[in-house]
Symmetry: C2
Subunit: 199 residues, 2 copies
Amino acid sequence: MDSLQNITSYLSEIFEIPKEAVETCSNFCMLKKVVKNEFLLQEGEICTDTFFVEKGLLRMYSLDRNGKEHIIQFAPENWLISDRSSLNFNQKSKYYIEAVEDSEVFILSKDFFINMIEKFPQTAENNDLLLQKHIRNLQNRVNSLLADTAEERYMSFIKMYPDILLRVPQWMVASYLGITPESLSRVRKELARKNFETS
Amino acid sequence: MDSLQNITSYLSEIFEIPKEAVETCSNFCMLKKVVKNEFLLQEGEICTDTFFVEKGLLRMYSLDRNGKEHIIQFAPENWLISDRSSLNFNQKSKYYIEAVEDSEVFILSKDFFINMIEKFPQTAENNDLLLQKHIRNLQNRVNSLLADTAEERYMSFIKMYPDILLRVPQWMVASYLGITPESLSRVRKELARKNFETS
DNA sequence: CGTCGAATTGATGTCATTCAACTACAGTGG
DNA sequence: CCACTGTAGTTGAATGACATCAATTCGACG
């Protein structure tokens, strides 16, 4: 099976374990193709899986009382995404996980990780590292939202995620930065003006 | 030793392991008394320890280009605090960890955790749970900074941390919320007015 | 070509910041 | 005991950053 081949090679790479290991856990994960705008999680549901993006791009966002979207995270190829609050504490999720592009996603159940760790204890360490990185990201984001202006946050975004910048509409970048599309448009205009002056 | 007694009972509680377990690791942790305004970590240093607050109150904050403080986290009794970005990735910290009150803190080195996990593998799971909770907190914070007004964030703070509210000056609450002390003062005034109307 | 969502632009509004003045109060030293 | 000092908190007026609303342009795609 072609898809199964992909699962094993990708996962063995990210978790740094032999392919055979992943194969033994293949009952607990499956490949799913999702089309643009399709949901993998919706508000009110309990998140039971972790999603590994093999191809495409996902985003996680919340809806506020005014129906406005706020993007918490993007997940391009080789990224994991999930609502850990919901997954680990069995609480209803406040978030949506949606395909920004047609995508191929490995759905990894809780049992998948349990099995992996059981058979290959080293997985636990890699898992831990993923959590640590997640914390680092979130902490940087909090600090940036507290300390930086919209312009500075946009500059950071360009540096950090130049690939994503080119793949999502501008209003999604604005949503991620915590400003309106109109404001981002003006920020960009202002930056263009500045760069022109100094060249 | 009195302090050693405290270490073991507190830590055995939080990590859900027998006291004897902690005692075997007591070489890797120590009790430190810090006075108000004393630092446990400063910007530019590499964070090598995790701090467990037995008594008192700590805060972690960053300084922006204008010298303005931005509080990332408070840590009252029985909380762990650390700059995990720095600790786990050996990077210079962007943050300060400082005592808000005279405090007593257990300093837990990396080796402490390594030893604990080695001798009591179950520690790893509890450790994992702590990371998951940390992620949940940070994610909620990001969402709140993106989606909520200053007034809503203040209301959430009151509900979530009523104890801390009473122990820190108002300007620190403002810093945590991401607004100026003046703004918080006005938010509070407005809330008082509203509550008066409806009573 | 016509349509629809995305992006830009202008005019205006709102919320929070800044700066400055003032009050309240705790701690210090004469 | 009182004056002196410094920090916290409040308030007002002006400013600034970003939001909102509305109109227009741009661009992809059927």
